[in-house]
Amino acid sequence: MSFAIKKQGDIVVVDVEGQLIVGNRQELKQRVLDELEKGERKFLIDFSQTGYIDSSGLGVLVSLSKKIREQGGELRLANLNDDLKTLFELTKLDTLFQISDTRERALETF
C-alpha cells in the first residue's frame, strides 16, 4: 500500500495503491496536508488501484475535505469501483464528495 502524488496543471492528483486503512491513513493525511501547506488548493484522489477502505480511511477523507475547504480549496474523488461506491453509499459519504467515474472527467470539470 502506497500513495503516488503528482501535479496535473493546478490539480494535485493522489493515487491510492492498495488499501486505505488504519495502518496508512496518517501517511495519506500528512502528504496531502503538506501540499495544502505549500499552497495547493485543488486535490483529486484516484481510487482506480485501491482495494478496500476502512472507517479510518473514510474518516481521513472527511477530515482532509474539511481542512481543504477551510483553506478555500476542494477535494474530489474519482474511479471508485462498485464495492467502494457501495461503501460510500452505505455511509452516505457519496453526498459529501464530488465523485467522478474517471480521472479524465474529474480533471476536465475541476
Binding site: 488504519v22 495502518g23 478496500y52
Partner: protein, 151 residues
Amino acid sequence: MGASNSPSFFPDRVHIALEIEIPSDVRYIERVVEIVAMQCAQFAYPARQRCLNIPVALSEALSNAILRGNGERVGARVQVKVDVTRERLILEVLDEGLGFDFEDCLTDPTEPGNLEREDGRGLFLMTQLMDRIERFSNQGNVVRMTLTRND
C-alpha cells in the same frame, strides 16, 4: 499416493477452521484479512463478499481490538478464529481488554450532524456488512461476526 486414491474435494462437506494470533499492532491487519479472504476464495464466495464485506468488517474488528480493546499496550496479543464452510463464515476476534457495550458505541454516522465526523463509522460498518455481530467475554473480549454466503 496415486491419483485414484486422492480424496475428492467436496466443498459442501468441507469446513476450514484456523486460528491466527498476532501482536497487537495495526500493521498486521492487512495480512490477516488476506489470509481470511483466501479461505473464502477456496469456497468461491461471491466477489462482493470477498472484496467488501469481509475485508472491511474484519479490519474494523481488528482495529477495535488493537486500539480500543488492548489500548495499544505493548506485548498484548489479538487472536482471530476463522470458521468457514460453503454456506457461512464465522470470525471471532479476541483481545485482552474488558470489552465495551455495543449499544453505547453505535451511533448513526449517516445522520446529517454526524456526516462530517472523522470517527464513528467502524461498528456501523460491521453491522451493515455482516449478518450478525455478537460480543461476549471469554478470558478476554470476543467479537463474533457471522456472514452467510449470498449468491
